[in-house]
Structures are given as structure tokens and as C-alpha cells.
Amino acid sequence: MNGPHDLGGRMGFGPVVPEPEDVIFHGDWEARALGLTLACGALGHWTIDESRHARESLPPATYLSASYYEIWIRALEALLERHGEVSAAERASGKLEAPGLRPERCLRPERVRSVLAAGGPTDRRVPVPAAFAVGDRVRTRNLQPEGHTRLPGFAREKTGVVEAVRGGFVYPDTNAHGAGEMPCWLYTVAFRGPDLWGADTDPAL
């Protein structure tokens, strides 16, 4: 979607503010937000693609004024509501109205290490050969779906060169919407700066 998250090349956000390496959380709530988000992911109601789409679907003014953990929490609330685990009324009142749907999938502390270490690989077999090879010039399509896509706006309808053929991977555009993994060939495509940003751009980009 052409949402607030599609930030590449946008302007007006001011300077980057570096931060020391030892700053991990800014307050305990950020740590809890991280833990809650990962623990709820273990319930298996949604994919990582669906959770990304929930974040980018926040109202743009909210998305752009919130810190990233706030974005996570707001999206988590939306996901839990969508999948019937926590209603808006329960959030408003703080009172349970229904039991959890999947308590049997509750992540236990003794499983944390193995779950985090396993991760969730997204490489898949694709039954057709790759359409492009390294060195091919390719042009991206004008994709502007209402739903999830991982094609950034700045790289739409642009010509680049295939730099690597990565194998088959889950297709986020369908997977985010419960429409299946539809594995596709994944390519790394290199674009020149002036092709993306116009003739005035740094030619070394």
C-alpha cells in the first residue's frame, strides 16, 4: 500500500539522531512491548507479513508521530482484535469478556531460547525456473495495491540490473492477507541513483 511506512526518498523529517550502542530500551515499557509482540507471534494467528501490514495500516499521522515500539503495540492490539483474542471493549475496560482462544500455544520461558534461535526461515521451493539471470536488465511494475507489498514506491517502474538470484521465497503480498505463501523467485536488483531520484542525483550512488 502507498502508506506512511513507504518512507524512501520522502523529505521533511529532519536530521538523523545517532544513539550510543549500549542504549537498548528507553524505559521498561519498550522492553515489555518487544516481549509481548514476540510472545503473541508464537500464538500462530498471523504471519510476519500480516504483522507488518498491520503496522503500515495505522493512521499516517499516528505512524509518523509514534515511536517504533508504540507502532508495534498499536499494531499488536489490532492483530489481537482481528483474530478474536482481545477485543477493543476489553482494552477499554481492562476486564476480560472471553477466555483466550489458544492458551495451549502460550510461549513458555523454557521454549524462548529455542524459538528465538530457530527463527522463521522463508525460503521455499518454487516449481518453475527463474525468469531472470544475473546481469539481466529488468523493469519493475507499477504496483500500487491497497494491500501489502514490499516494492517501495521509489523503485516502481524503474529499470535496474539483476545482481543475484536468491532462490524461492514466500510472497508477502499474498501471505500478509492470508492468501497463501505463493513462493516466488527472489532477485536482488541494483538501481542507479539518478535512475531513481532524477538527473541531479549523486552519480556515485
Binding site: 516481549g35 508521530s65 489481537l80 483466550g100 528465538l116 534461535a117 522463508t122
Partner: protein
């Protein structure tokens, strides 16, 4: 006088909001608070940029490992025990005299957790995400990094499930150092591409 607001919700609002959600989830039996503690412990103390620094230091000192890292970063990094969430598929990109690499996720906050831990705030924020792809030199200047004029820059946008680790250039003056000593000078930012590794004796 009217005042300008910063982020929409104050710190206290978010503390209350997160606590309320956790309480509901615990009461529903969907979340175990001890598991949350274990997750936090993992990323606060176990999985962080020292992992990546060890990878870089080994690549600097072992040619075979550097080659492996270049050709199959996922396997090379896994061989050091760094596997898991947000590091399932890895690519190492090497800085050199002819190229500087910079990593960004313009669409969200994709980041190689297994080797760098959790991303810093600026990596997830609009200023960096918007400008890294269009004006990397300007961004680098804000980190105090000035590259030679005309030095090519490659920006890697993490839009797929492939995570990038920048292998910075090894500074002069570190000949003969062992990997542990080398790892100490490899900063998180140098593995994102927003810093160079300073030669010993240089101001940090």
C-alpha cells in the same frame, strides 16, 4: 503559550497501555510473563552487536572464513552459533577502497538481529529511513563520516527476508591483533554502514 507536542503518547501513556495489554493477555493464558522476561534478557544481554563484531574480526583475520562469509553468509555466521529470528537469511557486504555499503529498511525496521541485536531508534525512524536511500552522503555526514568525493556508495534496502551485515574496512595499524582485540574496535554503526572503524589511537 501553546506548546508543540512531541510523540503522540507520553511515556506514561505507553507504560499504562502496554501494562494493560499484558495484564489481559496473561489473564487469558495467552502470555507467560516469565517468557517475556526471557525474551528481554536475550536481547538485553545475549544477542547484540558483539556477535557481529566477532564475525567481522574473524573475517579480517581468516581469509577462508572471509570467503565463506562472502559466498554463504548464512552458513558462515551460523557456524559461529549466531542463528535465529531476523537472521534466517544473511548476506555480508564488504566495504573496500571502491565501495561503501549502507543498510536501511525503508519500509519498516528489518535488521540482522542475530548479529547486531535490536535496531537503534534512529534506524527505525523516518529521518534515516527516508534519506539513507536518496542522500546517503548527507546521512553519513550526520554520523561524522566523510567519504572521499566520488566514492561509490551502495545502499541495501532490506525489503525482503534477507538481512545485511556490513563488513567494514580493517583500519591500518591493527596488524597482528588477535580477533578479540579487533572485535573490540568494531562498532555497531560500522556494521550498519553509518560509521567507519577508527584506526587505533584515532579519536572515537
Amino acid at each position: 503559550m501553546p506548546h508543540d507536542h512531541g510523540p503522540d503518547n507520553s511515556f506514561d501513556d505507553m507504560t499504562a497501555r502496554v501494562k494493560a495489554l499484558e495484564t489481559l493477555l496473561v489473564e487469558k493464558g495467552l502470555v507467560d510473563p516469565a517468557a517475556i522476561d526471557a525474551i528481554i534478557e536475550t536481547y538485553a544481554h545475549k544477542v547484540g552487536p558483539r556477535n557481529g563484531a566477532a564475525v567481522v574480526a574473524r573475517a579480517w583475520t581468516e581469509t577462508d572464513f572471509a570467503d565463506w562469509l562472502r559466498h554463504d553468509a548464512t552458513a558462515a555466521i551460523a557456524s559461529m552459533g549466531f542463528t535465529g529470528r531476523q537472521g534466517e537469511h544473511m548476506e555480508a557486504v564488504f566495504n573496500g577502497p571502491d565501495v561503501h555499503n549502507l543498510v536501511v529498511c525503508t519500509l519498516c525496521s528489518c535488521y540482522p538481529w542475530t548479529v547486531l541485536g535490536l535496531p537503534p531508534v534512529w534506524y527505525k525512524s523516518p529521518p534515516y529511513r527516508s534519506r539513507a536511500v536518496r542522500d546517503p552522503r548527507g546521512v553519513l555526514a550526520e554520523f561524522g563520516v566523510g567519504l572521499p568525493e566520488g566514492k561509490p556508495i551502495r545502499v541495501w534496502d532490506s525489503t525482503a527476508e534477507l538481512r545485511y551485515l556490513v563488513v567494514p574496512e580493517r583500519p591500518a595499524g591493527t596488524e597482528g591483533w588477535d580477533p578479540a582485540r579487533l572485535a573490540d574496535i568494531v562498532t555497531r554503526d560500522s556494521m550498519i554502514g553509518t560509521a567507519l572503524v577508527a584506526a587505533p589511537g584515532d579519536a572515537p
